[in-house]
Amino acid sequence: MSEDYRSMWAELGMDLAGHDALLGVLGKAYQDIYLFQKERPEGMAYFDFVMSEVHGLRIKELLDEKAAGRKIIGSYCVFVPEEIVLAANATLIGLCSGADFATEEVEKLLPRNTCALIKSAFGFKIGKVCPYLESADMIVGENTCDGKKKAYESLGDLVDNLYVMDLPQVKSINGRQLLKAEYLRFKTAVEDLTGVAITADSLRQAIRTVNAKRAAIHRLCALRKASPTPISGLDALLTNQVSFYDNPARFTASVNTICDELEQGIADNIGVFPAGTPRILIAGCPQAVPNWKLPMIVESAGAVIVGEESCVGERGTRNLTVESGQTIDEMLEAIVERYFQVDCAIFTPNQERLIHIEEMVAAYKADGVIHYGLQFCQPYLMESIPVEKALEEMNIPCLRIETDYSMEDMGQLKTRVEAFVEQITS
């Protein structure tokens, strides 16, 4: 990234030395993991560019939007409805991060046995290395797992613009009412922040924009069903990760461009891995940038990832919002309906998630499932045991992985993943 951005980062109050170190690690990892791949689709050049400018040009765009009076809202969860944010003329950005930073400082505020995702969010704040976080006019926390909801109490001491959204934990009528009430409260908060009242027209347009983004991702997912697989799991994950940062309309166009290319590749029987390569579905915790550890191990062990059952994956993008609503209330109902189906492990019971995993195994012709659990993530680690049991009863091999963002367990993970690939190779 060019020198021009240094004054921009300094004005955001960031720690330039720490940020340089972070970008150094990120750039090296991207080089080794992404640019090292062979036969990548040409359309990935756009995503390479976005990643190379992830703290540069994209931040400049956001700051230009801010200068023009638009507000930036950051979130840590796919339950925060982008439709409402866009309809009030604001921009939604995902703040979750996938790298350890300032861990010793973080552990003064959070217990050591807190998951890496939460610690990372704190580390990026304490270390002042995330320009998205520093640009945000409002930071939305949400009551999902116990770790996050208690951590937001402490995050509130570090930032002055935290808004906490409550979420249901049961898919009941009461749960749905709670979600609707919280979305209404959020709508008011966003309108107060922007000074823009949401209208039926602005909400309809926002629903269309977000639907188009999700539909493009659905299209890309569907292409991964082909054999040979036209895109690596690493690249598909990256497009999904970028969806949390990028301008929605430009992102949608870029994903559709890559889909056109992949469709042609499939017609010509071109794949990034040979036909017959073992196909793996990843299920479990989200993988935020730059957490590419597991997919890198899987795809260098001679297998290909064909789908992610994850918040940065189909759990986050499944289902479109019905567009037929005329009034604001009808459209809000449709938004609630769409988000209430997200099968996050904070819900109990959460049978839908298992059904979705089984559906994905069949749809993507997966030979096995790797259940990805972040250490100390109680909800997903708890679910991993019944998920494994159910899959094995259906003769679908399953490997449960429990790890964090560190590289200490690379050797053990490689051995497990390679043995799993040997196991599912016919």
């Binding site: 094995e392 200490e408 367990d409 050797g411 053990q412 051995t415 497990r416 043995a419 040997e422 196991q423």
Partner: protein
């Protein structure tokens, strides 16, 4: 003419090399300490040894692959193949090596059905046993025999090597019998191994491989706690290297 196939198992504590002929007869087997430079040690072990193809396994396999242009296989598949060579009906394997332990369940045809491995530390492995033996003043070869002499069970609750060491120190200070402390330590490892085996396999005999399978108290306690037959190959520490050699030959 391809007729000598090598398997090298580069573990955290030791390296094993096995050469088999086309019929699977073992022509050579040797073991050495891994030391601080595993590749130099591996090179030294293979010097002057003729083979047509070599397969590497163990935690050093990827380094070996890069340094010597070998094929690789995981320890899981290598141990499964080695165990099946001695016991063709085997459906479950427990391997306790220097730095990790694993339980493997096999299909009838020998393919891996499911496996479990221990976590990121030395708990319940050969290294744990070595450290505890040393604390009690035993040579590792005598540790198991000493434990067999114990007359009562002593509970050792810590699995962590560091905590277990201090637990042992306080037991010694309390005047507990060395044999009984030894048995307690063996039991703590076996409890973990039994749980791991039971997660992958619920019935039938277990093939016990890895250096820890040489320990008579481990074998006895495993049989007792599992209530299942225990089969131990003649030189259990060579099972991984043998499996790799057999896979180099083109098996599995």
């Amino acid at each position: 003419m391809r007729n000598r196939f090598a398997g090298i198992d580069i573990g955290s504590r030791t390296i094993e090399l096995v050469i088999v002929d086309v019929s699977g007869n073992i022509l050579l087997s040797r073991q050495s300490d891994t030391g601080f430079d595993p590749m130099a040690e591996a090179k030294r072990m293979t010097e002057g040894v003729a083979y047509d193809r070599i397969m590497a396994t163990g935690y050093g396999r990827n380094l070996y692959e890069i340094a010597f242009d070998a094929q690789t296989v995981t320890e899981i598949k290598a141990h499964a193949t080695g165990a099946r060579f001695y016991f063709p009906q085997a459906r479950a394997i427990l391997d306790i090596g220097g730095q990790d332990s694993k339980a493997v369940a096999l299909y009838e045809n020998g393919k891996v059905k499911k496996f479990e491995m221990n976590d990121r530390c030395a708990a319940g492995t050969g290294k744990f046993m070595e450290i505890m033996a040393r604390n009690l003043g035993y040579d590792i070869g005598r540790f198991g025999w000493a434990a067999l002499l114990a007359e009562k069970d002593l509970a050792i609750s810590s699995m962590c090597t560091v905590f277990a060491e201090s637990e042992v120190t306080s037991l010694i200070a309390r005047g507990e019998n060395r044999s009984e402390i030894s048995r307690g330590l063996h039991l703590s490892v076996i409890r973990r191994a039994v749980a791991m085996i039971q997660r992958v396999s619920s019935e039938g005999p277990i093939v016990f491989t890895g250096g820890v399978a040489n320990n008579p108290c481990m074998r006895a306690l495993l049989a007792e706690k599992l209530g299942r037959g225990i089969l131990v190959p003649e030189q259990p520490q060579f099972a991984g290297a043998l499996g790799a050699a057999l896979l180099a030959r083109g098996e599995g």
